[in-house]
Symmetry: C2
Subunit: 623 residues, 2 copies
């Protein structure tokens, strides 16, 4: 810390007092002057800039040494910016304390002083030289020495506090932290130091670059104390009970108005519960869905925050600064709605993602019968140059030809797919809301089926059907069927959100939501960009004439794909669901009258009639 200001402003007195108070050694810069300068000053000759450079360099070197230990307090006039630059050249983190006072006050003080080698006549030249710094802690010296010390300490405390905190340095936490620090926010990070995680914080700090303001902690209380109020703490740990444990540990350390943000894939019911619980304790809780994977977290994810709007506004600058940017330059982060709505839409985002991935897997199966990996890649790249373009299509093209040791990696990967809950949560939500998400649910089930590898091998041996390739499917049919199926997938996904918004009174904007999904997230695509305007017309994609036209025109392609699948024993669960849903939704009269008749027959559940108002129930004595 450099205490600076004109001669007589009280640098030494203040420095010594402060040294006693905070336990850092005190040095007077004047003690480091070369002999020639001391003589000059004693003779009343003001030092010019040239005189000062060697002295400042000696000082800078010393500061560097002190900094390698715990630091030090230095009293040094450092009147001009160029002098300060020399001192700071090797010491970026100098804290500048500028003692500011009126020329008359200082003159009076100097004239009372005895035995000092500097004549008060020099004061005028000092004020002429002084370039007041635009940074640092500025202290008014008209107050008492004790008050001056207190004010410096108060400012110090504030200066060292981080604006934002992150708990959990897994892949996502680490990358989001770097992203936040890169945007200039002073950041504190915390990770527990349990077995296997002892070095997480240290390793992370090793990844950071010099001008990032990051403090790392393995003691939660120190982490919390390092944050300025209201504290803004982003939790990036595995969803589930662990979140509650962290919240319970935090509560006694936090103050009213602090904000906890859960950026993991928590269940929206849990988020609602936690928000209510914390509200009762005067704390704010934001459930924020974050999509973009490892890379998105570092370079710009899509962020879906929910909670009270007022607490969102406090954290908005940070979240919006790190988010991806859409093609109009707007941030892919917007307030979603109350309660767990952010986690809800992130969950459905993942459901849509499951289905998009499975569709591509099915296309890969269809194409790999007759095309090489390279040819498939080229087909995908061509599609990706048009309105089918999407992040997932793009990475799938990459994947096709990625080699390791001369072999395609794809060909070496075991066909047992994993899953992490959000896919099945989406299905459960749809079931609860009475809406249909057959595409995402079938995508989840397809992953389950894939995991029964041993059973599949056994059964395939028993069945051992010889398949003769039944006709060639055109690339155009596959492409058009893909176009068709993606629309159905998006309609089903957004329909679940629409229903939730209605049921829970969330008042979500599907158009805004599509917009923040046009970049940063896994399901960004040209179709998503179109959805922004589609949803301005209606909340149901099937209401949009353009959508209906595409579906109508590509029905035949899906039909061709499915018949090809049937004839060649290729399982195509997602294309199948897309077709079933569209055909069902465009069928005026379904056979559900039979279901109702059966239910009334064995359970007296009653039924409605086509020739009576819907509020009227009928029962037949069937037997």
């Amino acid at each position: 810390m450099v205490i600076m200001g004109v001669s007589g402003c009280g640098k030494t007195t203040t420095g010594k007092k402060l040294s006693k108070k905070i336990g850092l050694p005190f040095f007077d810069a004047d003690d480091f002057h070369p002999k020639e300068n001391v003589e000059k000053m004693k003779s009343g000759i003001p030092l010019n800039s040239e005189d000062r450079f060697p002295w400042l360099k000696i000082l800078a070197k010393n500061i560097e040494n002190w900094n390698e230990n715990d630091g030090a307090i230095i009293a040094c006039s450092a009147l001009k910016e160029e002098y300060r630059e020399i001192l700071a050249s090797k010491n970026k983190d100098i804290i500048w304390v500028y003692l500011s006072g009126d020329q008359n006050l200082i003159r009076a003080r100097i004239e009372q002083r005895r035995g000092h080698f500097m004549n008060s006549n020099l004061l005028v030249s000092q004020f002429n030289d002084l370039e007041i710094p635009e940074y640092g802690i500025h202290i008014d010296i008209s107050q008492s020495p004790d008050k001056i010390i207190n004010e410096i300490i108060l400012n110090l405390a504030h200066m060292n506090k981080s604006f934002f905190g992150v708990i959990g340095l897994g892949v996502m936490g680490r990358n989001l932290s770097l992203n936040i620090a890169e945007k200039g926010y002073a950041l504190s990070v915390y990770n527990r130091a349990t077995i296997g995680e002892e070095n997480m914080v240290k390793d992370f700090l090793g990844e950071t670059v010099n001008d990032m303001k990051i403090m790392g902690f393995t003691v939660l209380r120190e982490f919390v104390n390092s944050l300025e109020r209201p504290r803004k703490i982003l939790i990036m740990i595995k969803a589930g009970n662990a979140i509650d444990h962290v919240i319970e540990s935090l509560i006694p350390m936090l103050s009213e108005g602090d904000i906890i943000i859960d950026g993991g894939n928590s269940h929206y019911h849990d988020t609602k519960k936690r928000a209510d619980y914390l509200e009762g304790k005067g704390l704010n809780f934001i459930g924020a869905g974050i999509s973009g994977g490892e890379e998105g977290a570092r370079k710009g994810p899509s962020i879906m925050p929910s909670g009270t709007k007022i607490s969102y506004q406090i954290i908005a600058p940070v979240l919006e600064s790190i988010a991806a940017i859409d093609k109009n330059g707007t941030k892919c982060c917007t307030y979603i709605g109350p309660e767990g709505s952010g986690h809800f839409v992130k969950m459905i985002h993942n459901g849509i993602e499951y289905a998009e991935m499975q569709l591509l897997a099915e296309i890969y199966t269809l194409l790999s019968d007759s095309k090489s990996n390279k040819e498939i890649k080229d087909i995908f790249l061509e599609w990706n140059s048009g309105d089918l373009a999407s992040y997932l299509l793009e990475i799938t093209a990459d994947i096709m030809t990625k080699k390791e040791g001369g072999q395609y990696v794809l060909d070496l990967i075991l066909d047992k797919a994993g899953n992490k809950g959000t896919g099945s949560w989406s299905t459960k939500a749809a079931l609860d809301l009475g809406t249909v998400n057959t595409m995402m649910s079938s995508a989840v089930f397809a992953r389950y089926v894939s995991s029964f590898k041993e059973k599949r091998i056994n059964l395939s041996r028993k069945v051992a059907t010889e398949i003769h390739n039944n006709g060639i499917l055109s690339i155009e049919d596959i492409r058009d069927a893909y176009k068709f199926a993606r629309i159905v997938n998006h309609q089903q996904g957004f329909e679940v959100i629409r229903r939730a918004s209605k049921s829970y009174n969330w008042n979500l904007s599907l158009s805004d939501l599509s917009r923040i999904w046009t970049n940063g997230c896994i399901i960004r695509s040209e179709l998503m960009i179109k959805c922004i305007s589609y949803f301005k017309v209606s909340d149901d994609l099937f209401e949009h004439p353009e959508i209906v036209e595409v579906l109508k025109n590509n029905e035949h392609a899906v039909k061709s794909v499915l018949i090809h699948g049937l004839l060649n024993r290729i399982p195509l669960p997602l294309f199948t669901e897309a077709n079933t849903y569209w055909i069902s939704m465009t069928t005026k009269r379904l056979s559900a009258n039979m279901i109702q008749a059966q239910r009334d027959y064995f359970g007296a559940h009653t039924y409605q009639r086509i020739d009576a108002p819907e509020n009227q129930s009928f029962h037949t004595n069937w037997y």
Copy 2:
């Protein structure tokens, strides 16, 4: 109440004391003798049977009158069965109290007696006449008069207690109650008397027949007090919070060891929670799935009870007596397993049912293109005479031609299907257990789709596709596809149960379970009968060679059905799922490697390789 026994056994003394104690009027039968009889007795001439008939008839008439009020206590020798029959002819509910004593003891008492018109010499003839009743309360008169009274009251209390209680007189509760009472069990029933339900108990008692021992209550405490211990109370109310409310009301009224049975469609998690909660209070809880609808409840349902085995054994006689009977004469009720396993299997039963119903609805759609209702009925009846026979097929045949006012009822029913939760619960359970139930889940979603009637009408107008009937599908193909799809449905359903049994350590027997589902329940069928033996070989139907053979041989039929559906725009969600699952499960290598590559690409989720052990994880730097 008639207190009977030979002269001098203490009928009058006992009757008068008891009258004071329980507040019913006392009458001495001898006071109703015609004059001639009194004279005869005074002369020491024993009465013969002919003397007694007019007297007994007078008495019977009086008893009838007393009974119309609160009843009465009568002292009457009633030595012979024929005398007692006269008294009981119009009074079925006489309580007989037989005072039983040694001849010497009675003689001694009579000889001490003064002023009585009967000579103790008559005692011998009385003992000759005496036919000890095989019913009623028998009391030993060698004990003190107070003890005699106490013993009678204790017996009375016990006599009037019901063996079993039912709470809730909805369709199912009413029918189960009649079924239980019909089996001879003394039954108490309770229904709250809230608005709209004031007359439930009264109306129900009106339905009962005379020899049923049923007491009805609208006050819960009276209902509970009417039950003998350990109390056995079957709750038949709507699943959900209402169950908890009833349980909370019951707890303070119950005693240790009492058993509560929940016979509704409760969620198995709730059942587990309730069982744990009640165990902590010394009470037993049985979760019992009950299937069979209205008719099954009355005539014999399939019952799936779970909980501790020891409490099941206490209620087993009642549950087994009312259950359906399988073709070997065994009851369709067996102990399922611990916790909520009974409700779990009932839930999956309903899931299987959903899919079976939807399959029939799809077949109806396929056939109704070219066949009349009558022709379809005949096809169903023919199928039902063979190995496709099932309860649901049978009722569907009935439904086809049921007419009201000259019109087919089926044609008048609105095609919007309802659902009650267990279908979607099944899907959620499968998702949690990592198993696949695409057939039941699609059946649920098909019902949802049907409910979007207005949207469907709108969209069908916009699409307005002209469909030319593309070829005729053979009845045989539909039949064989149906056979195929039903097997897949049963495999998926039982697979969910197998997984649950393994995950929760329930140790369920799928073979026993199939057996109790061969009668009484909605999904009873020839296939279910076969499952009994299939599951003796393996818990996975797909492991059975006969099953694999049927599926293999009928794949082509499903294919034909699905292609017909595609060409004619007929939604066939369930046939589709059956095919997809079978084809997937018999495909050695699926495209899940693509899913794993994508997940590793954007989320660093890692993957397994075909050339490395499964416990090894790999990650590729894809970009």
